[in-house]
């Protein structure tokens, strides 16, 4: 499952950031690394970008950027 498919208020575990380009390293530097839980907070009024909570802070990602992140639903969700 991809991060952009996560529903509002849902939490999942990051499994992989695809690619090895600048965007991938940026995402990882910002703490989006495998094993971390990530929560979808909400979408912007026009549907894009999306606000997430990770590593104890809030980050806004465009759909195309979130699509680079693979996630797996954790058991409790």
């Amino acid at each position: 499952m991809r991060l952009d498919e996560l529903g509002q208020g849902e939490t999942a575990e990051i499994t992989e950031v695809l690619g090895n380009d600048v965007l991938a390293s940026r995402l990882m530097e910002m703490g989006i690394i495998d094993g971390e839980p990530i929560t979808m907070i909400g979408k912007a009024p026009m549907g894009d970008p999306i606000e997430f909570s990770v590593q104890g802070y809030r980050i806004s990602l465009r759909k195309t950027e979130a699509a680079r992140v693979q996630i797996a639903r954790t058991k409790e969700c």
Partner: protein, 763 residues
């Protein structure tokens, strides 16, 4: 007396420390608190990154503090990051290597902030950690054991709330202490780097040896980055220096790393975050709270599908209404003051070159600069408030989808919106865009937005030449429609321009829009005060001087080389007659009070004669002025370019007026007034100027002005770059003459083509 002790350094010796941290950690607040208002601002050689250096205040040592650009990582992929690395490693010429790195961390978000720290730490500099925003830790439900953290990191840690000016003296003392007795170097085995796979260390060593054999000296940190960062700055600069083989070397190294199971760049971030996790364990704890913070509640509404959109429109509306509302009075004041000073100079100096230089050159030039200050100050006040309270990031979040359709991001919205009032503060506001390409494109299209200086030109042309037809039972007027069209044409043209600029001038992948959304907080008065003051000062000292110079230059071109004796004499006699008129009028009112009928009659006669004489003399002065400007350098240029402007339906007089309006668009009205012999005090509602323009003829008797000419002038002004303030601000913000020249050329070309098309369509 420190100087008498041979062991300690003399107080006069200049020490350097660097201040570095993630964006939005309160770094500028700390810098301002440490160094006061006397920062020296410049640019780093060769890049458009601002260099800010301040002197530590209240210290017995002489310490320069370098404020480095906010960055999340030292992986040198952008100009900002490359500058940070170059400063910290002392590779910039003319910039001493700092003796200490002061790393500022957001205490409420230590995990992610420590990522940058873990990289800086490995550069081998002594490090001081400042945990800022200490006042927010409790509210966020976080417990930080600063002493334990300091022990784990092996560096001193101080806690501050820079926006409230709390804990600043602790930072100062710690800096002094560390400079006077530098701590021992950290054992490399404590670095996160020590946890990198063995195969990586081997590759780094090999690549480092190879570089040394090629005569390239490099820090180990740089070799690390060469292997980790795809298309990093070092790889690029090594390639540029002719070492093309580096690309193959790196590719081969990466292949070997991949075979050994070391995934580049993932292993770096994973190792560092794992290191962070171990380091802060037990020192930083987050309370798991189920209650929703007030910031989250506010955020829920401000980014809500409908409420959020409405709130955004309302906030923008209020900001821009306030700018027009609060700027109107000071701008009027500046105008009045300008007029008053002009009148005072006219009272002291006789008519002549010196008086003209002061009134039409200097006073007009200074006024032209000051005129922008109220708008700049007010806009930056609102930007500072919105940024500091956390809404600015949400505004970018809300607008991103719309702006991304033209290849920009949500952060470009506010600068472009501001440019509808005036491009100067709009261009200055592009600083809030971190991405360099986005910032450049925004900055280059900002002058296309219809600013308020275009309005007088539109009003003059529309009221004189567009028929006052109305449609839909008088609800829709043609004049109004044309005005609306003129207001929007720039923004419409900006869309393809932005696309072309992105595609051909700033190519590369679309900018990423990873943006941190901070919790909302009350804005700090210190921060706001500093932001506004900094911007105002920067405008006056940098752009202001250049704007002033262009105004004086254009004045000189319009004044010389003509002989002004006749017009000066005529002006003198005109002024004498005006004084006479004033005295006659006061006599008249006295006579009216005394009810002296015969005296009143006699005075009335004299008044009539004087008024008549004044009217005749004014016509003579205007005719003389008009012929002088015809034969000035400006007039000669106008005559010279007439063949070029003829296809647009313009005569040489319009050409001159357009050239003379280079300092500011609205100047065209006073220049047209002068050329059409009406004196230079015309405004856009002037009946006289409209009548004169309607009467103007080509040598063959055809009228010069028609709907087609008016449309072509309006389109030209909608798209041209006739505003030296804008161009000088671009020069200041990009630190290069290339971009103002580029803007002027591309906008003038667009304007010329647009005007030509408009003339063809309407004639």
């Amino acid at each position: 007396m420190l100087g008498n002790e041979p062991a300690s350094p003399t107080p006069a010796a200049l020490r350097t420390v660097a201040l570095i941290g993630n964006p939005n950690t309160g770094k500028s607040s700390l810098f301002n608190a440490l160094c006061g208002m006397n920062a020296r601002v410049g640019n780093y050689p060769g890049v458009t990154v601002e260099q800010k250096v301040g002197r530590l205040i209240g210290s017995k040592l002489t310490v320069d503090v370098i404020d480095l650009p906010g960055t999340y990582s030292l992986a040198a992929r952008s100009a900002d990051e490359a500058v940070a690395v170059n400063v910290l490693t002392g590779t910039f010429p003319n910039q001493a290597k700092p003796e200490l790195a002061v790393v500022i961390l957001d205490a409420a978000n230590i995990e992610r902030n420590l990522y940058l720290f873990s990289q800086i730490y490995e550069l081998g500099l002594p490090v001081l950690v400042v945990l800022n925003m200490w006042d927010r830790v409790d509210a966020e439900g976080i417990t930080v054991e600063a002493d334990l953290l300091s022990k784990r990191l092996g560096v001193p840690v101080v806690c501050t709330s820079a926006n409230k000016r709390k804990g600043i003296e602790l930072v100062r003392e710690a800096i002094e202490r560390l400079l006077l007795s530098p701590p021992e170097a950290i054992q490399p085995n404590r670095f996160a780097r020590a946890q990198f796979p063995e195969v990586f260390h081997t590759e780094v060593e090999e690549l480092g040896n190879w570089l040394a054999s090629q005569g390239k000296s490099s820090f180990r940190f740089q070799v690390d980055r060469l292997l980790i960062d795809t298309d990093g700055e070092y790889q690029r600069s090594l390639c540029q220096s002719g070492l093309h083989e580096i690309n193959d070397r790196i590719a081969a190294s990466r292949n070997r790393l991949a075979e050994a199971g070391c995934k580049v760049p993932m292993f770096e971030t994973k190792t560092r975050y794992a290191w962070i996790r171990r380091t802060i364990e037990g020192a930083v704890t987050r309370r798991e709270s189920k209650s929703v913070s007030w910031s989250d509640k506010v955020d829920k509404w401000l980014t809500h599908r409908w409420v959020g959109m409405f709130a955004f429109v309302l906030i923008m509306f209020l900001v821009f209404q306030s700018i027009t509302f609060f700027a109107a009075l000071p701008m009027q004041g500046i105008e009045t003051l300008q007029g008053w000073i002009g009148a005072q100079v006219e009272g002291v100096l006789p008519p002549g070159a010196l008086r003209s230089l002061f009134v039409d050159g200097v006073v007009a030039g200074v006024g032209g600069v000051l005129m922008f200050l109220p708008q700049i100050a007010i806009l930056f006040f609102f930007i500072a408030v919105l940024e500091d309270c956390g809404y600015m990031a949400r505004a970018a979040f809300v607008m991103d989808k719309l702006m991304s359709s033209v290849g920009l991001s949500g952060k470009s919205f506010l600068p472009l919106m501001s440019s509808f009032a005036c491009a100067v503060p709009g261009i200055m506001a592009t600083r809030t865009i971190e991405n360099r390409k986005d910032r450049m494109v925004t900055l280059l299209i900002a002058p296309l937005m219809s600013c308020s200086a275009r309005m007088p030109v539109y009003i003059l042309m529309v009221s004189a030449f567009v028929p006052a037809t109305t449609y839909a039972a008088g609800w829709v007027s043609l004049q109004g429609l044309v005005l609306l069209g003129m207001q929007s044409i720039g923004a419409i043209v900006a869309i393809p321009v932005a696309w072309i600029l992105k595609k051909f001038f700033f190519p590369g992948e679309t900018a990423t829009f990873l943006m941190e959304l901070h919790s909302y907080k009350w804005p700090s008065p210190f921060v706001i005060y500093h932001r506004v003051w900094e911007r105002v000062l920067a405008f006056v000292t940098r752009a202001g001087t250049l704007i002033f110079c262009t105004t004086v230059l254009v004045w000189a071109a319009g004044y010389f080389p003509g002989n002004h004796d006749q017009v000066d004499a005529a002006t003198s006699s005109l002024e004498k007659q005006q004084t006479e008129l004033a005295s006659l009028e006061s006599q008249k009112s006295k006579a009216a009070e005394a009810q002296d009928a015969s005296k009143l009659e006699q005075l009335n006669g004299e008044l009539e004669r004087t008024k008549q004489a004044i009217a005749e003399e004014t016509d003579r002065v205007n005719a003389l002025r008009s012929s002088l400007i015809e034969n000035s350098f400006l007039g000669l240029t106008g005559r010279f370019i007439e063949p070029a402007v003829k296809p647009l339906g313009w005569d040489w007089k319009i050409g001159v007026a357009v050239i003379a309006s280079f300092p500011a668009r609205e100047v065209i009205i006073s220049t047209l007034g002068t050329i059409y012999a009406l004196g230079s005090a015309e405004d856009h509602e002037s009946e006289g100027l409209q009548a004169q323009m309607k009467d103007a003829q080509w040598p063959d008797g055809r009228p010069v002005f028609s709907l087609a000419t008016a449309m072509s002038i309006m389109i030209f002004f909608a798209l041209c770059a006739q505003c030296s303030a804008t161009l000088m601000t671009i020069r200041r913000e990009t630190n290069s003459w290339r971009w103002p020249v580029f803007s002027f050329v591309y906008m003038t070309t667009l304007a010329y083509i647009g005007a030509w098309i408009a003339f063809k369509i309407f004639s």
